[in-house]
Symmetry: C2
């Protein structure tokens, strides 16, 4: 079973999921597609997000993937159900794994979620949490500046800290919340800063780590784990500017992992590498 | 979908999995069967463990369960594959979830496992870990005294501490190990003592918590989550002495949860409640 796992995202945020997949499933081959040309998805209408997501999915289905990871919270919120019903391979999103990890982690059922406007407006985390536990209290907060900041490569320093502080300060007044879900795959790149601002009494759940963990579970349940031990080479595609994408990817991955990547441009209009 | 989740164990250890299932999946109805009459399984030959496990499974299949949780490491080691191939409902064991959580958690790929003689001898954890990551170092240690101690209701105090200390001391010399899997469902009841003995630099993974988490994932993936919100009443069965089983159950569960349980004796010979 040496077919690849396909991973899609609106831009570079999904690379935090890929990073965890490489760590937790080192035998698996990955094909990543980031729609950086049209990023961010967070403030776009639902119909547009669906259209763009399906274009990405078709590109990866052409590559004969064995499983699809929707590594974008906005795309998960608007398309996961449809994709799970339409495709004959397992599909996992980033919302349910984060929700389940929060339920496992919280001691008092008071859970916060930060994400894009689209993700928070969709109530996708609230629905996922309440589907499992009706007694859970969810505090959602849209943080529209954080993902664009990461897309611009600002991951630490004074500017990052003051933007994080301003973005999440409404949640700091909530003394009950003991668990906070990073409901956007860009945010793990700001995790240390977010932890510093929110304080050590709140456990932070990274959807990216949890999604990698559940990808492992689902591959195992479906008998799809790769049994070969050769080190895989991963294919990364961007719809946008290749040099900027390579720069950000280099910033996120360690050298030892960066050397395992082949990075190219993709056209979703022609469904081809370009 | 208001069919129950079936949970089997050799005795009372699986109650730690049930406790987590009740916490993480409060809408789900559970049917638990503990083979306390023939506990422990840990030192029995493989063929006998298989025979006993199948007897328990048949008892629960008669109750029309929608999913089976093998909440016993020894039974998982010897029968999981066979059960997954034979039954037409999803089957989860306690070994793979613990292994995946350890892989997510470790920073240096040095992982310890403590369990019964049978579990350690079977190398089930080593196989599960290496199936996913070939570069992992696994240190297995059989602790034959711990499960019988818990079955006798000794969960804390001087005696518990000195038995734990003596049992796990060989692992304390290993300075690389950063993660320790509790590879027996009895051990979460000794978690605080084990943490105290092994030190705070080692993260302890409870197979019970992780199995509940993956049960949630698998129910969701199969569309089997219960959508009703009524508080379920759970059925617990023991093959052994009813009063002792009730006493230990009362010790493990808080009053608010204990009131949600109906506890009865079961005969595996006749496949009936008695």
């Amino acid at each position: 079973m040496d077919r690849a796992i396909g991973v899609i995202d609106s831009g570079v945020g999904g690379l935090t999921v890929v990073q965890e997949l490489m760590r937790q499933l080192p035998k698996e081959k990955l094909i990543y597609l980031g729609d950086t040309a049209r990023c961010p998805y967070g403030s776009r209408p639902a119909e547009e997000v669906k259209l763009f997501t399906w274009e990405m999915v078709r590109f990866l289905l052409n590559k004969n993937i064995k499983m699809l990871v929707v590594a974008c919270n906005t795309a998960t919120a608007f398309t996961l159900k449809e994709l799970q019903q339409s495709l004959d391979i397992p599909v996992v999103g980033v919302i349910q794994p984060g929700a389940r990890a929060a339920i496992k982690c919280t001691n008092n059922n008071h859970v916060g979620v930060i994400g894009t406007e689209g993700t928070i407006r969709s109530s996708a985390y609230t629905n996922a949490l309440e589907k499992i536990n009706a007694d859970i209290h969810v505090y959602g907060l849209a943080c529209p500046l954080l993902a664009p900041m990461v897309e611009n490569g600002i991951l630490a320093g004074m500017e990052a800290k003051s933007v994080v502080e301003e973005s999440i300060s409404p949640l700091k007044q909530n003394k009950d919340m003991d668990t906070l879900i990073l409901g956007c795959t860009h945010y793990p790149l700001l995790k240390d800063t977010i932890q510093e601002v929110i304080g050590n009494n709140v456990t932070i759940i990274s959807s990216s780590e949890e999604t990698a963990r559940e990808t492992s579970t689902i591959l195992d349940v479906h008998g799809l784990l790769n049994s070969k031990t050769d080190e895989p080479i991963h294919q990364f595609y961007t719809t946008g500017e290749l040099n900027i994408f390579i720069e950000i990817t280099r910033k996120i991955f360690k050298d030892s992992n960066f050397s395992k990547l082949e990075i190219k441009r993709a056209s979703l209009r022609t469904n081809q590498e370009v």
